[in-house]
Amino acid sequence: MELSTSILLTIALAPLVGCVLAGFFGRFIGRAGAHTATILGVAVACGLSFYVLYQITAGGAPVYNQNIYTWFDIGHYSAHVGFMIDRLTAMMMVVVTFVSLLVHVYTIGYMADDPGYQRFFSYISLFTFSMLMLVMSNNFMQLFFGWEAVGLVSYLLIGFWYKRPTAIFANLKAFLVNRVGDFGFLLGIAGVLYFLNTLDYATAFAAASTLVGKTLQITQNTHWDAATVICICLFVGAMGKSAQVPLHVWLPDSMEGPTPISALIHAATMVTAGIFMVARMSPIFELSETALSFVMIIGATGALFTGLIGIVQNDIKRVVAYSTLSQLGYMTVALGVSAYAGAVFHLMTHAFFKALLFLGAGSVIIAMHHEQDMRYMGGLRKYMPITWITMWIGSLALCGVPFFAGFYSKDAIIEAVGESHRLGASYAYFCVMAGAFVTALYTFRQMYLTFHGKERFVVVHDHGHGHGHGHDDYAHAGHDAHDEHHHVSHKDDHGHHEPGIMHDTPKESPWVVTLPLILLAIPSIIVGALAVKPMLFGEWFGSAIHVNEANNVLGELGKEFHDWASAGLHGFTQLPFFLVLAAFAIQTYIYLFNPSVADRIKSALKPIYNVLNHKYWFDAVYYIVFARGGMALGRVLWKGGDAAVIDGVLINGSASLVDRIAGGVRRLQSGYLYHYAFAMILGLILLLGGYWLVGQ
């Protein structure tokens, strides 16, 4: 059955209605009204998205591609608002609305005592609307609208707790770094319009082959390949949104936002928009080997090197944040080796298990009364078993342990990179392989520090007693606190408390929190096994993704693939699994049996630790060069250019020149008759003398 426009409009607009109700009428409808309205809106969108996915895959619905209304129409250039629903879109819609719905429910528990309750629900519904507009778009203009709109909501949500200086620094930083990416993205769109004369996807992709051989004049004698320029420009946009090196710096800071949005926006959906976009543009990207190599190398670098930072983080959310950076790197590598389906598949599995990990971390944070430092946790498993088990599921999926969802997607990426012969593929292969080891290292460390070992907090039931500090069972807990300069800054504003001192025993979170965890744990286990064959090796995506035959690494892999069970069993004999096992052994030894080793390693590898702890100095350098440098440049231009040259010399200078001349001329108007008489005589002499001279 064909998809109807009204259903698609309902999907997109239902969350917007929820947003408006909760945002503008939040005071009238109250807290319950706000969360009911928004949850209803998103639930409608989610239900209908499942229906659309069903119609597209099983119901035989053809690809929907229609304009809703004309945005502008000038000559042969036009831009529209419209939808294109194919399998890629339908899958994204389901992922977005499903995770969003769970996050909405979770928020009831997480934000229970926050004064900005209604505002928060309004924002996340607005986000859902924007993200849907992004993925459902059938043209570049609307894509850019969704792209920037999710950026706006991200800005609002990172700065949700607007009283905290760190939050409003982080949201400005996130917006501006994203704008650097959007700068490239917009130029890429302009390039598409220039060479392909359209902003419409279908028309542009159909004409994509005409790009071959075309060049763009850069200087008098330099011409760059058109497809390469377009693809790299578009990818710069993806680098901003999907936090690729070197535009990744905003994502760790985005953890200033409340945890539900870290799960929804900064892990599951928005940050994967770049991955989605490149997969969507596969007909264009396939035209440029250079651009794809660039994509692959950027992705591989991120996959390994941002993961390494995760090992030294002590904030539970930051570990997950760096893990997200690393996983986004994996997806990008997959794009770079033309394994677009692999990237999107990993996007989907990652959405589930990473949302699960973030929401799990949030559940821990609730239990710990907004303490996020893992050095003051430990042994939480007995207090919160559901969170503990579901987070283990998420962790195993993340590490790519066979049969879990992440295994199928991540292993396929590693193998696809191994198959690829693209320039830089061997570097990328090393990065993703080493990255698997690194992933396991930080993941197990996080799990052990949080849920296992001894408790590193004390429960003090009476208020107001200065109890000094908690007991430093673990030597490294005390030490770390000194060189972790920013750990104080990212506590929620739920009242000041001394680290390691709790006023109540931690307890499992309410059902609105644990239910989403369970509902996310299920796909984190099974979705990989279910979808691997059709999505990765079958023709599931159909015409949505285009791969040139020569680049089809997934097709090569598919020849050896039989079914999910044998692939899973085979996984136990492969290098990535051994790396995970090795990491498991190391971390188990360190954190369960001999915690002092962690400290000894740290001091032995002090220089490396420093590099990681300073995040390769990206932030510091950017701050000095771009933030301080930009301000300094502005001041120089203002004081030097505007104030000194233009106003000082030209404007006020000419004014004072006029003043001086006038002052001089004024002296002639003395009022003395003999002055005037003298002047007249002088004039007469000059005049007559002049005639006489000319007459000669």
Partner: protein, 502 residues
Amino acid sequence: MFNHLLSLLIWLPILGAIPVLLAGSGRPNAARWISLLVAIATFVASLGLLSQFNAADSAKQLLENHVWIASLGVNYSLGVDGISVALILLTTFVGILVIVGAWEVIQTNPHQYMAAMLVLEGLMIGVFCATDALLFYVFFEAMLIPMFILIGVWGGPRRVYATLKFFIYTFFGSIFMLVGLIYLYLQAHTFDLATLASLPLSMKEQTWLFFAFLIAFAVKVPMVPVHTWLPDAHVEAPTGGSVVLAAVMLKIGGYGFLRFSLPITPDAADAYAWVVIGLSLVAVVYIGYIALVQEDMKKLVAYSSVAHMGFVTLGIFIAFMLVRGTNNLDAAKLGMQGAMVQMISHGFVSGAMFSCIGVMYDRLHTRQIKDYGGVINVMPWFGFFYVLFAMANSGLPGTSGFVGEFQVILASFQANPWIAFFAAFTLIIGAAYTLYMVKRVLWGDITNPHVAEMKDINGREWFVLGAFAAAVLALGVWPQPLIHLMDASVSQLVTQLGNHKI
């Protein structure tokens, strides 16, 4: 059919100012209500344009023609095309909002303030209607007088310096235009713009005339390097003065390019298009950096206006490169439309930004960014509007600020990717200076105890900001109606660019 609609639009507010003045300082409320009624009546009358104007026709419409100074061949002749209609609607829309915005804010001689506003409105409409060059010039100059008074009487502490700088600066520019017009009159023996447009002129003549017009309109827009009057004028002007100045008066510079430079001196304009394009890009980048370090909110928004108006001049002059360089008429239309949409959008956004600053100024009596911080804690509704307009100022899609910039950047890329590269820099620097201000003013904890006493916006302020917000969103979500309104006129203008006079 009633065919004096344009005269009505011009003279209704100007004559309406008389009863406002007569109400005197003794009856301020009468003055306020009369001026509001006049402003609303003018707006309603301007809506009549939409029904009487045929957007499919590129010719001037609703013509009126009377002999004014027979000996010089000067006529009182009026007529509008799609571009004028759009700008007139902007003027009458803003006209209501500045009256409402000033309601209880202006306490000294409100009747004179309101009357000046109404006269100014009528004169600006006159500029957009005039099809006779001398009539245009008269309105163009007369406009300075009420603005001179508005800044000089109701302005801030340095109002005398600012108002003199404003007056002399812009007057200096228009003298050159007058000389150019006199020269044209001596050649053509008429001031009729359509005749002047078809007047054959040598390249040398065109070049002199082009630069004469350029100086006049560049000051008005304003373009770098003749922009320095704007920050001073804005800082000292009362809120309403700033709103009108930014929302409408600056547009007259861009409008002048369309009516004078393009049709009368097309070949010189083509030859020197690179000058204007270069200066426009300087406006985007150089002014962007200057805006970043401003401590005074009004100065910041004033500089931001210069940067945004850079897109107007860029969009207009990029059309030359596209028509004459690559013969891509559609791309030229795209750029030109972008420039027009940017003019209208900037009218809404800058008007709204200055209104927001006015709202804060009325409460705290300072415009220094450092005196604020954490305003959102006490003024959540205000914060909503402020963030919305800041986003529009940063060119966020979905707001009007995006549309024109998007079109101009797309068109620039067709001419030369490097032009698009520098123009697109606004995405970064525009967001940087705007949101850095938002961060320091709106977000954060309250540090200044006076901020804690600020009350959220009242109904009157809600109306003003809400009207601006509706306009910003409507244009951002669906720009096609505006584009359709101007399409025929822009097409004709672009076709004219290809006509060589030599």
